[in-house]
Symmetry: C2
Subunit: 210 residues, 2 copies
DNA sequence: GAGAAGTCGTGATTATTTTCACAATTAGTA
DNA sequence: TACTAATTGTGAAAATAATCACGACTTCTC
């Protein structure tokens, strides 16, 4: 709403910064420079300073950044206070990995429920998160606005359609299928096979030195 | 070696194109336009044409692209013939998801072996892939040049160090830890928590219409 | 308190990526 | 064959992102 001028490339790095600052705080460090951050998160220090500068002057010249202050600032900016509720679809290995991940700790998101078609899974819990039958999607999913898709590709379209019907706002899609949604729904796509393939391609064609 | 001028942004999209072309072929389609491809993979059609053009004139004006020809071309370019061997570290849920994924089908990569510290897992197989003890890394991993890291963050540094020692060339890191490697090792980083958080951030701050 | 060392914030520059827009060419049709 | 509709490939422009480089300010040390 407000900071609409923040470059997308910057926005994508914010959660990364946030996580690392959290680590620093746990380690009891109270001060950090863009150079140190750079070494840790592998982003050029000038880029980090530029990123931060979109939010105003957060550091002090000759000193660096105060970890606590920066963290407090990010918490607000990243809406760490507000909790976003998430539903997960497909309790296979990948889905289970998500359920075991405790997002809430460093995070503003919580998986509230999961869906699957397997009767052996329905009715159980994983990591304290209840698993419902996929048929009950409409009934159980009331206010949840974000979904993670870890279902087989063949199910992607039908589930997506129902989610859109239900008023979903964002989908994190791990399916190889490229799903079609109305313009007002945001989809981020992660394809594990593509990621691996891309790495291999880069290895062969982009001899590094940097 | 040859096509060193291909933009990285393009390179990242190639596996995506490849996968979709494969689907088309299975559907028996012999012809496709950049517009159709665009609808399917959600990339602007001009971008697709530009991407392809880095490899020469692959299409025909007024006609589009011949699926089979394009596919044959990509197969060579993406080294689909050559098989890249991969080792996986950490047979938790995420690691298991990878082992079940049959990469070879549409793919130039194969997970040859997995490593874990859990004695219950060591000695077994998942999806036909043997699981060794992490202590045997040096012994078992001979020619494998690519590793997938799905271990706990706390293990990331020590395993990475051993991999580097062993002559690793590329690492796909799913650990939240940002690992440090020599310049000649390529690391791609995917942090599931960061991805989810980024999606949520975008939802709140980048109202879409596009 | 003065000088040295460190570090930010940012104007300017450069690099990369996307998009526009249209001439050229082809397929399809009558 | 001649006309129409489709679609590429690409020069040029625009948008986005990364990096350089330095003035200004802060802390530290003696």
């Amino acid at each position: 709403m407000d900071q609409n001028k923040i470059p997308q490339a910057t926005a994508k790095r914010l959660p990364l910064y946030y996580r690392f600052l959290n680590n620093l705080q746990h380690q009891g460090k109270s001060r950090v420079s863009s150079k140190e951050l750079s070494d840790a998160v592998k982003v050029d220090s000038a880029t980090i300073r530029r990123d931060f500068s979109y939010f105003g002057a957060l550091g002090k010249k000759g000193y660096g950044y105060n970890v606590e202050y920066l963290l407090g600032f990010f918490r607000k900016t990243l809406d760490q206070d507000e909790l976003t509720e998430v539903a997960l679809f497909g309790v296979g290995n990948l889905g289970t990995a998500f359920l075991h991940y405790n997002f809430v700790k460093n995070n503003n998101t919580k998986i509230m429920m999961a869906f699957d078609a397997d009767p052996d899974k329905v009715g159980t819990e994983i990591g304290g998160i209840p698993i419902y039958h996929i048929d009950d999607l409409e009934e159980k999913m009331k206010d949840v606005k974000v979904a993670i898709l870890t279902i087989p590709a063949s199910e992607a379209d039908s589930v997506t359609e129902r989610l859109v019907e239900q008023g979903i706002e964002g989908i994190l899609n791990f399916t190889p299928a490229r799903i079609t949604v109305p313009d007002h729904v945001r989809v981020h796509h992660i394809d594990l096979a593509v990621e691996l393939q891309a790495l291999v391609y880069f290895l062969k064609h982009y001899p590094l030195d940097k």
